[in-house]
């Protein structure tokens, strides 16, 4: 779907000739002539205008009746009046009508001071009312959900919240009940409005009808300041504005960036700010003495860390978690690699350097906005609403408004299935076989065999290939493949067929098409590019000898080969896929130095030195969005007294070991990083600014992406040739030996798939308002398997493999494929990473 082109036209508004883009709605076009037309229901983000509030009536010459400016596209030569008596009377009428039932309780209304109804009444209203009857009454305020309060008396029925629920997030919960003046907003079934994006209606509401439960009565607009930054709670990296009062974050608002978030936020991003000021937060350094963590002075903590690192003789490893900034990651890899001479540093990229170079090729990159305008989007092995929530809204928008064809290929049923033209399932862990089958369908290779190994229907694989191939009609279509990092677990067995697929679809160098990978960690892409990798340094340069990746680090530590673990914003027992080996590693390590905000299990039980971490509202630095956009984190509030910036600590530790790098501010770290990464050349925080910069959009920087011979060269050659159907001159990757879906069912075991809920985060657990959403383990399985195992929906079960078990509640889903079971990872107890897989057995729990 090509993006619409805009042509300029000239029209007249209030006697002035003004240029504006053709077909822009009059209310927007008027702004080109510095004319404001008041609106309530109009919100272009919600799609086509509805013309409900009638606030924007204007006079257009040649049309007898007044027209709504929100729904009238501007045409060349149009003559518009907004200041005539007739228009003013009409607008004043609408204000009068809106206010007759609106309680004039502005002094005690949370919206007061930032209320569009106040502004419009002041600007366009008559200043008095002739209405002397009793106003409409409702019970109020009510909890629309634990996060949102609704005051129906204040509601002006502009439809915005209902449209959001029906047409944007498509949770279909909010509706208008009754009709005429008795109309009111509520959920269809009367249950609380709980949905991943529900908080957006707070910002959409133009009056004080919907207010935030956690923010209610906390501040007035003149008490607060808003500070722009980026949310680091997931890879979507939405742009936010923190509402700050007296150095406390009291609210998070969307800071619209069309290229990143379209002005929306998920509820985690909107409400998890409460964790910043949670009591559980670590705000002083700690050292373990006699098995107990105790608060100590910074000097003591730093001494302890220095002693541990100094005494390790290079037998140390560093691991960075998702919320680590580029600068922190850069300094960590320098500390471990250059200062202490250990090659063992990782950020859980899960792929080797050549794979990262191939998939990260600038010519193959798609952007978030491409999801909305492509002919076809293939969602491969990711659940956007959990993995990068805001992309879920973008995909729905593309399908709904631009008729993007959506294909979903996942092992777990996706919430996007109902929107998809085609949904294909494969067995958990069989990504390599599935992608091999799909790629073979393009090149005339064997499809049946890998499809069977993937537990996928070969016919569906062919159908998917046809959809991708024919989406553009006669021309090759723009295809975006949105894939989850977990898809790449089998390395080259997946990347090779995936790149062949990219070649077959002609994605290389094609604007509007490409690959978009969703990392598991917020700043996964930035950390890779900063060199937090076992086999590559900053800028993905080759290193003399490769170190261990995350799991290798755990194994080596458990085996006594490494003695000090440096954990930067990560809790391996929770974040890493294999818990057992990490338990052994943490037991075996002589020192575990951790930067942490909360005493989660690893920190609580195993850390020997704890440095309190900055919250994301306090942090300064840069991140890289999954589509390559460098974004800037700017501090909104000061740090608690006991907290120091991680870059300072890392530099202090390097200096104490004799390495003077001249990192005096975080910006000097940024400059050093940009100097070290060839494809960041010439960038600065000023250039990144408030909205970020995609580095690969600059040709010189794109050309600086490291080139490599061998496999990658062969693949890029293939990708560049863009054949639409031909036999590859590249040898077929061997079909991965996987278990077919059927294998599980015969011996009574099920194949284990995992997923991480949007709510599985320490920040959610620490935010009082969100606590009720924090997930408990449940195992999803098909009704057929459940019947065979004699398990009913809602029953307590144990899921086990190789001696390890977790407790869960059985959750039967009709869409769930037979032979598979899905467990959540990333939760504090009974997480999926306790189990090894690939097969698990489910039994009824024995009552305690």
């Amino acid at each position: 779907m090509p993006r619409p082109e805009r042509k300029l036209i000239t029209f007249s508004i209030d006697g002035r000739e003004v240029e504006a883009p053709a077909n822009m709605m009059l209310v927007d076009a008027a702004k080109f002539g510095d004319v404001e037309i008041p609106v309530f229901c109009y919100e272009p983000k919600l799609g086509a205008p509805v013309g409900a509030c009638r606030m924007c009536l204007v006079d257009i010459e040649g049309i007898p009746k007044l027209q709504t400016g929100c729904s009238t596209p501007v045409k060349d030569g149009m003559v518009v009046h907004t200041q005539t008596r007739r228009v003013k009377d009409a607008q004043q009428s609408v204000v009068e009508f809106l206010l007759i039932n609106h309680p004039l309780d502005c002094p005690v209304c949370d919206k007061g001071g930032e209320c569009p109804l106040q502004d419009v009444s002041f600007g366009w209203g008559g200043g008095m009312t002739r209405f002397v009857e009793p106003k409409r009454h409702f019970k109020k305020p009510l909890e629309l959900s634990p996060l949102i309060a609704i005051d129906r008396e204040r509601c002006i029925l502009c439809y915005r919240c209902v449209r959001f629920s029906q047409e944007l997030s498509e949770d279909y919960q909010l509706v208008l009940h009754e009709r005429s003046a008795a109309t009111f907003v509520g959920t269809f079934d009367g249950h609380p409005y709980v949905a991943p994006f529900s908080g957006n209606i707070l910002e959409l509401c133009p009056v004080g009808a919907l207010t935030s439960m956690p923010y209610r009565f906390r501040a007035r607009p003149w008490d607060i300041e808003n500070a722009g930054s980026v949310c680091t709670l997931c890879p979507a990296q939405c742009n936010v504005a923190f509402t700050v009062r007296d150095d406390r974050v009291l609210r998070v608002l969307a800071r619209e960036n069309e290229e990143v978030d379209d002005g929306w936020l998920c509820d985690k991003g909107r409400f998890a700010y409460q964790s910043i000021h949670a009591e559980e937060r670590v705000v002083a350094p700690m050292v373990r003495e006699d098995g107990v963590l105790r608060e100590v002075t910074w000097e003591r903590a730093l001494e302890a860390a220095k002693a541990a690192l100094g005494g390790a003789q290079g037998r140390i490893a560093g691991l960075a978690g998702g919320e680590t900034t580029n600068e922190e990651g850069f300094l960590l890899q320098r500390l471990v690699r250059d200062v202490h001479g250990s090659p063992h540093v990782d950020s859980g990229a899960g792929l080797d350097r050549s794979g990262l170079l191939a998939l990260g090729d600038p010519g193959l990159q798609a952007t978030v906005a491409d999801l909305e305008f492509a002919h076809t989007v293939l969602v491969l092995g990711t659940e956007p609403v959990d993995d990068a929530p805001i992309l879920d809204l973008r995909l729905r928008k593309g399908v709904r408004r631009n008729r993007v064809k959506l294909a979903v290929a996942t092992s777990r049923p996706s919430s996007l299935d109902p929107n998809a033209t085609l949904a294909v399932r494969y067995a958990p862990g069989a990504e390599a076989a599935f992608v091999t089958a799909l790629s073979a369908a393009f090149y005339g290779g064997a499809v049946d065999e890998p499809a069977q190994a993937a537990g996928a229907d070969a016919g569906a694989v062919h159908e998917l290939a046809t959809l991708l191939r024919t989406s553009g009609g006669d021309q090759p279509g723009d295809v975006v493949v949105l894939y989850g990092q977990r898809v790449l677990a089998e390395g080259e067995a997946v990347t090779a067929p995936l790149l062949k697929l990219a070649g077959a679809l002609g994605l290389s160098g094609r604007p509007g098409a490409g690959l978009l990978g969703v990392p598991t960690a917020t700043n996964g892409r930035g950390l890779r590019e900063a060199g937090v990798l076992p086999d590559a340094g900053p800028g993905l340069t080759a290193v003399p000898s490769a170190g261990h990746g995350a799991t290798g680090i755990a194994e080596a530590t458990a085996a006594g080969e490494l003695s000090v673990l440096y954990l930067l914003h990560t809790d391996p027992l929770r974040d890493e896929p294999q818990r057992a080996v990490w338990e052994r590693a943490l037991e075996a390590a002589t020192h575990v130095i951790a930067h942490a905000g909360f005493l989660t299990e690893t920190i609580r039980e195993h850390a020997t030195v704890v440095f309190p971490a900055e919250s994301y509202a306090e942090k300064e630095g840069t991140l890289v969005h999954p589509d390559g956009r460098l974004q800037r984190l700017r501090p909104a509030i000061g740090r608690p007294a006991g907290v120091r910036a991680a870059w300072q600590v890392l530099d202090e530790l390097a200096r104490s070991a004799g390495a003077e790098h001249g990192v005096h501010t975080v910006h000097s770290a940024t400059q050093q990083l940009f100097a070290a990464v060839a494809f960041y050349a010439g960038l600065s925080v000023d250039a990144i600014g408030a909205k970020g910069v995609r580095w690969w959009e600059d040709d010189a920087r794109a050309a600086a992406w490291p080139q490599e011979s061998g496999l990658r060269a062969a693949i890029s050659d293939l990708v560049a040739k863009t054949p639409l159907s031909r036999t590859p001159d590249y040898e077929e990757a061997p079909t991965p030996s996987g278990l077919g879906a059927a294998d599980g069912a015969t011996n009574g075991a099920l194949r284990l798939g995992t997923y991480q809920s949007i709510w599985a985060a320490a920040e959610v657990e620490a935010s009082p308002a969100l606590k009720f959403l924090h997930p408990h383990q449940r195992v999803e399985l098909s009704p057929a398997d459940a019947a065979r195992l004699g398990i009913e929906h809602g029953e307590h079960v144990t899921v086990g493999s190789a001696g390890a078990t977790v407790e869960a509640v059985a959750h039967l889903r009709n869409e769930s494929p037979a032979g598979s079971a899905f467990l959540q990872s990333g939760i504090p107890e009974d997480a999926a990473n306790v189990l090894q897989g690939p097969l698990v057995e489910i039994r009824k729990a024995t009552p305690k």
């Binding site: 606030m55 009409a90 009428s93 609408v94 009508f97 002739r130 009857e133 208008l176 009709r179 003046a181």
Partner: protein, 436 residues
């Protein structure tokens, strides 16, 4: 009556069955003739007949059909059988007695519009008529008159009878379409008009029952001949539903242009109790009222428009001089307040404000200033709404205030005095202020 077209055989026993309808010439030569004509010729025939929509807006039926785009997309025909304008009951009789005539009209209209799927959206209260239509549609399908290749022609049509749930607003064409799609029945913003983006975003021709039923007759007698009936710009016959204080209320088929006096005093036998006409609604409760001074107007689209009202759905409601205009006004306003969908501000708030003011007039707590406010509120509604429902209250209410202002003032004064008297009496009786 000699001019009867739609009502010609209406009381024929068993006309609702396929056998009798066919014996009377239904589904015969006329249908064959229509289906063998090129589409454009059929549309042209409708344009030349001068047939104007019988549902209320009075737009040229042929022109509306000509707006349907060419092309291979899915197109729809929708019959608006949500007859809910107060005072209107003509479609009910037509559907009860001659359902096949509607089906035949729809086949022809669908053919002209290039639609292959059609719906009859019938108001929920017309359960009996919906059952009759269901049976007739089943008969038509069984006889090959609906479905694939009708009468062997290269034209196929599906027809579904859909029952509404009784909302007045679902008679507004875009509200009807939303309701038919399974949504809350709210009017849509226009443009786009249904001919471009209607049902399921596809081009849609939407017409009233009577309009569609007239088509076979136009084709039967020829457009030119049909156009000779009636007066200029108002051709043909029209079914009118007369109700109120007349001696013989009911449905009548008249040639357009007949005078109102002839209708009320001739056809309907004059006013009950031989009182005088105080006011009459010429085209349903949404039309601005006319008075006894207007009885010599020709009953046609242009004459009524010139007099500041409209022909609307052809429902004449006659109110005699024994009835209070304020009571009529309140009853009317209450109806529109109840039926407003609540989507747009002026209608939602304006209708309920008007009712509240009228209720105060009745209870004796209003002043003549309220009359000014009420008149101004009607002006604030008119022309400012998303659909015509707001205007449908504001125009008749506005016209009543304009034409009967002294009566309103007297009523307000009398009600105030009555209320005061009652208050004093209750004080005397010790009913107020006693702590019970």
């Amino acid at each position: 009556m000699s001019s009867a077209i739609l009502f010609k055989d209406i009381d024929e026993p068993g006309l609702g069955t396929l056998a009798v309808y066919q014996r009377r010439g239904g589904y015969g030569d006329v249908l064959r003739k229509g289906l063998s004509m090129p589409r454009e010729a059929l549309v042209n025939e409708l344009v030349e007949s001068g047939l104007r929509g019988r549902g209320g807006a009075g737009f040229s039926m042929g022109k509306k059909a000509s707006f349907m785009p060419k092309g291979g997309m899915d197109k729809y025909l929708v019959c608006n059988a949500d007859e809910s304008e107060p005072g209107t009951f003509k479609d009910r009789e037509l559907m009860t007695k001659s359902p096949h005539m509607l089906i035949e009209g729809m086949i022809l209209a669908a053919y002209a519009a290039g639609a292959t799927k059609s719906f009859i959206y019938i108001r929920g209260e017309y359960a009996q008529q919906a059952d009759i239509l269901d049976a007739a549609v089943a008969e038509a399908y069984a006889d090959g008159l609906l479905g694939e290749n009708i009468l062997g022609f290269d034209f196929s049509l599906e027809l579904v009878v859909h029952r509404g749930a009784g909302a007045y607003i679902c008679g507004e064409e875009t509200g009807l379409l939303d309701s038919l799609e399974g949504k809350r029945g709210n009017p849509r913003l226009k443009p786009p008009f249904p001919a471009n983006q209607g049902l399921y975003q596809g081009p849609t021709l939407i017409n009233n029952v009577e309009t569609l039923m007239t088509i076979p007759h136009i084709l039967g007698m020829g457009a030119a001949k049909y156009a000779e009936i009636g007066v200029e710009n108002s051709t043909g016959t029209k079914l009118i539903s007369v109700s109120g204080h007349v001696k013989r209320p009911g449905n009548y088929e008249i040639e357009l242009g007949m005078s109102a006096r002839e209708i009320i005093y001739g056809l309907c036998g004059g006013i009950e109790g031989d009182h005088e006409v105080k006011l009459w609604f010429p085209g349903g409760s949404s039309s601005p009222v006319l008075t006894s001074d207007d009885l010599d107007l020709g009953y046609d689209f242009d004459s009524l428009a010139k007099a500041g009202s409209m022909l609307g759905s052809g429902a004449i409601i006659v109110v005699d001089d024994q009835t209070s205009v304020v009571e009529v006004c309140l009853k009317l306003a209450k109806f529109y307040r109840h039926e407003s969908c609540g989507k747009c501000t002026p209608c939602r708030e304006g209708t309920q404000w008007t009712v509240k003011m009228l209720e105060r007039m009745k209870s004796g707590t209003a002043t003549p200033m309220d009359l000014d406010i009420m008149a101004s509120v009607q002006e604030q509604i008119t022309g400012h709404c998303l659909c015509v429902l707001g205007d449908a209250m504001a125009m008749p209410v506005g016209s009543m205030i304009a034409k009967f202002r002294p009566e309103f003032e007297e009523y307000i004064e009398a009600a105030r005095e009555r209320a005061e008297r009652e208050l004093v009496a209750s004080l005397d009786a010790g009913l107020v202020g006693s702590a019970t």
